[in-house]
Symmetry: D2
Subunit: 388 residues, 4 copies
């Protein structure tokens, strides 16, 4: 996790600017013989693609992915599989309108990375945000589509749980609902409230923050490495590194501050299969930086889109005071598009740690009883109560 490369054994290097010729990634360290078609990756990209509803930017990109390397016909089955060598994925930028950038070329948009890129590098590709554009996350989603296939039984899903002051009702949580509304909201009723609210926000030229929750099921116990490669530390890094994210929590998260030791301890019993079963999941699936076999539960906060129609005070690169108003195609709530990106990042982290654990300890589970446990029913309730 340094520079533009992510991971230790499952390694993803992304490249590309919003309005350059192309963006993409190189996925290195993928196990061989995993069936992989461009269509599967495309399916994941399509979920993230903007312009699909009135709530995401109207930039229309087909975001068509090509696999440039690292796959070949399995000699035994004839199916296209990974070969173990680097998988390069390419997404060409096609909607590069020849736009007038004179307004933002030399003036720093508050909340954007304009100023910091200039401060760091002395220049920046200002077209569409350049490297700091959310467009880079398409490469992450593509890499995540591969990561998902590495850990047997892994299922990573995310959902929008809060927009502004509007929250879902956890009793209505239905994963099937996620793909039925354009907001990835697991509560059908809340989805309608969110949508109405976002319409108002959008019409007023404003924007609003959000909270997304990611749940990874099927994560075996034992993943994570003390003390600087803890699973939760890597999840925090992966999620905080998504554009516009300002906070990350795991399990009970910030609500832990108000819990007593008695409330917080996830008691253990044995399941019918003889494997340990946690009665609650305040830990969010991680203890001491190592997975417990319970679902990983993370939440993260996304700040409001910085591009708004109200002028804001700022300075330009010549050191003059001025103000700026950002026109153009923008999402009223970037939290929506963060949903598939978060799934991808969590899948990459889990895949990397899965391979690392296999490297250090081997295929045989260290402790015979340890298997991914079924989700504890009590989790959401416990959280909700704690947070109130």
């Amino acid at each position: 996790m340094s520079f533009n490369t992510f991971g230790t054994l499952f390694r993803v290097t992304t490249f590309g600017e919003s309005h350059g010729p192309a963006l993409g990634c190189v996925v290195d360290g993928c196990p061989p013989k995993i069936p992989l078609e461009a269509a599967e990756i495309q399916e994941r990209l399509d979920r993230r693609r903007p312009g699909q509803s009135r709530f995401t930017t109207q930039r229309r990109e087909p975001d068509e992915v090509k696999i440039l390397s690292g796959v070949f016909a399995d000699p035994d089955t004839g199916r296209q599989v990974t070969t173990g060598t680097p998988i390069a994925l390419l997404i060409e930028n096609t909607d590069q309108r020849s736009k007038d950038y004179s307004a933002i070329q030399d003036t720093y948009r508050p909340g954007h990375a304009d100023f910091t890129y200039d401060a760091k590098y002395g220049l920046r590709d200002y077209r569409g945000g350049g490297r700091s554009s959310a467009r880079e996350t398409a490469a992450r989603v593509a890499a995540g589509a591969i990561a998902r296939k590495i850990v047997p039984g892994l299922m990573v899903r995310a959902a929008l749980v809060k927009v502004g002051r509007h929250e879902i009702d956890r009793r209505n949580w239905d994963w099937d609902e996620i793909d039925r509304n354009p907001l990835f909201c697991p509560d059908a009723e809340a989805a309608r409230v969110f949508a109405d609210y976002l319409d108002d926000v959008r019409k007023s030229g404003s924007s609003i923050g959000a909270i997304v929750e990611v749940v990874a099921e099927g994560v075996p116990a034992g993943l994570g490495a003390p003390v600087y490669g803890k699973l939760d530390a890597d999840l925090a890094s992966a999620l905080m590194g998504i554009n516009a994210v300002k906070g990350v929590e795991i399990g009970a998260g910030f609500a832990s501050a108000e819990l007593s030791g008695e409330e917080n301890a996830d008691e253990m019993r044995l399941g019918n299969d003889g494997a340990p079963r946690f009665l609650t999941n305040h830990a969010g699936g991680v203890l001491g930086g190592i997975s417990t076999g319970q679902p990983l539960v993370c939440r993260f906060a996304v700040k409001p889109t910085s591009s708004i129609l109200t002028p804001r005070a700022t300075v330009n690169r010549w050191g003059e005071e001025t103000e700026i108003l950002t026109k153009g195609r923008h999402d009223p709530c970037v939290g929506i598009r963060a949903v598939p990106v978060a799934e991808a990042m969590v899948a990459c982290v889990v895949a990397d740690h899965y391979l690392r654990q296999r490297g250090q300890v081997g295929d045989t589970p260290a402790w015979p009883f340890v298997r991914p446990a079924a989700p504890a029913e009590e989790i959401p309730a416990a959280h909700t109560k704690a947070r109130e």
Copy 2:
């Protein structure tokens, strides 16, 4: 940040178990010619050392640090300085009471890493928590004492801002107060409230969570590397990797979810020195993963100590249901001791990124106006309002 090594250019590798012969770290990549005495490191360690008040574990360790390598007399000044080679720091464990561990040897304490270490490795050093003990953080504090000296003008301070449902009043914030009470609390009045509350918690054999805030001033603009080495992603990883931490936020953090684009944008003006000045700091000093020159402001949640005097249901390593009650020396609120550890981790992250930026871009600031700005007065107020 992988396994037990942290950092890219400023690299810290820690080792040691709670009750083994010693613990310590190797600090690699430190610039040469930095004056360094064991006494300076000792001073930082003494702030973290347990047993100094009734609120931290009564284990009494002198925690005396020795420098084993990497320092030598400067040929010009005669002062002891770093040589650029690895600095090994050693802290011997002296309070290794020959205790009876039969109760926890084979039984998993809920909330502790007992189960996960066994699940990962097939065994664990159960004495005092072994590698997962908070004792490991002594090595981090030692490394942080070196990191602080690398970035000219850097000042990193942390404070306890919430315990259970009790919060500080930000209008009373006084950094000088931090070292006047045993809780690292910046609000003298809140310190008294916290202390009374913690006395109750301690006497009832219970424990409680907390929130800590870290502020790093003097961080030049331009530190951080897109897109997987973002400064905030590395801070999140560093803080989430501290024992018992369940959530991390930067700037407005989770409160961003309720902010509009207008509220969240940190507008910019020019300061008297001609450098950009942000009117607020909802960003917490980071935009697009790169430092703005404003203070870095992070907050993290610490769960309640898992060791409590109430019996909890659990299982043992033979797959039997049982229950456990944890006696012994324990902190009612581990958030207190997390304060100096958090300072150290933030210092290490900033030092590493400082060297990385110097490596890629050189000593000359890329943008002439960019200098660390003075803290914006409006920050705490903005946060507080947003969070209500």
Copy 3:
């Protein structure tokens, strides 16, 4: 230097198979504001491109490079420069003849990586050698073209100095000669001998090994990091990692085994500029893993091309004994094409260490007298004598 990524701060990740859609690389960590045009990279690629003489494979690829990211117009000069973000380079494969691969698909060519790729991954892209093809080195040459521009005053050149039992006469060494013959040979007379000899080898369907020498001038003293990131260790890794290389030496190299301490010591005097001057360069520019300021001098041995027209005994993937004869387009001496690749690899190593040194120690040279010294005239003679 792990998997398909090379370097710590100047990082190169390559991808692509010989007969896949494309190959290329992502160069991460490049300093910003370095002028860079595709044409410069193309020029380097053209030197390596096969099919330019009867001594290299007749595969005809234009090897046209495209820059996909990481460059932009400098706001001050208007020139295209690096931005500090990842530079992705793409070379599409155009000469992918639909060839019959049934002969090698399941049978292991001795000396090739066929067997080992199958042993490692369970399958391989057998078309043209797949990932193990020398074609991958095009991406390295492209990355090297960028690396060369990072260190001010750096000049890296390589030459073919031995083919079979035929060696150059070091008294005839003329760097200008390198680009006048198709063999990168610095001795015009030897070039003719090599050419005649290689004609015979080629006509007989055989192949032969070679030795290449690389010299890097303008390397400042102080680059290299004890003890596992030594400059010479990284050079050894970089050169040994080139296809078909079986040995690497620095300075006097293997001849050191026969030298006495008196012969081997490079004595020091002061040059006219007051900087230290070494009277000889048996060290090859590296002492204790750190550059001396003298030219880096490396030599490496390349084995003969494994594809020959004589049948060899082998086995197939079903565990049957058989024999194989490799038809097709092949170089009689792969050492020739290794010349520009070696230059690129050395440039990448030097650039990476240059940035690392700047990161750890800063721009100011640690020791005021230390500047790259002029090449010592005595070097080649000393070597030659030692090796006789």
Copy 4:
């Protein structure tokens, strides 16, 4: 392999100067449940320890190793085993004579790293060579003792094969001879010749270079990662990084330059066990950067000790010309002590790649027939002929 840390999954970080309080290492990523006693490590250290014969420096250090962390009693067997957490090893320096260093304090000994450390860092610990002392290799030997235990069936042995112009006769090669003479020489007759020759060298206050050969048997096929983590590239780096090494070769090595494709190809047949068998091993056990299952065969050249009794011209740190003569305890041939160090480095490389392969591909061998093959009888003969 960067800075003072070596390896990707099996990671070794060393620290310490020759005359500081202590040196040692942290071994991270070691699999759990491997039986490990300090005595086993001590046995390896004792082989390397100087002062055991008249051919190595008379510095007498007990070099007693202590294990500070990472081991614990196996709950099932009661034996001390690794726990999977960092193993810190400490060797205290006891023979730190209070010596007069005024002669070398400010003057650069030719051939030593004195000048380059000053050039890099601006200062150095000059006592006994500081960090650049061969004493650092004790930590590597200690780490290697652990690495050897990771790969089942691995046996790594090294031998001194050439001193000055004196070479062994490969027909006399007897591994049992290695530990019968103080030179690690596998040819009893050559050992006597070497000893007599070294007596002369020592008495004349001179020194001489040497060649060491390392052979690793029991290395499974499939280890190594294209294209910058090739097994041979990592071996080259590991061996070139040993003090005083100036050249590394694998298999036929530099002799490959004179071989034809027909001579060089290692033909394959099936062994009695149905596994592939190579008829020769010019490849030295590596094809395309991946192990073949044959023994790894590496050779490296060690330059003569730079400390000699003849005065040499040099400069000092004030930029003055002077001369220097190095008195004190020194080896006439540092190649001798490089033998156990080389074994350790090769063991570390193989262990790291073994874990990496298990991580990426899993425990199941990718290709059912692939098992470590018996050494091919023809290897040494083939080499010898080729090198003549």
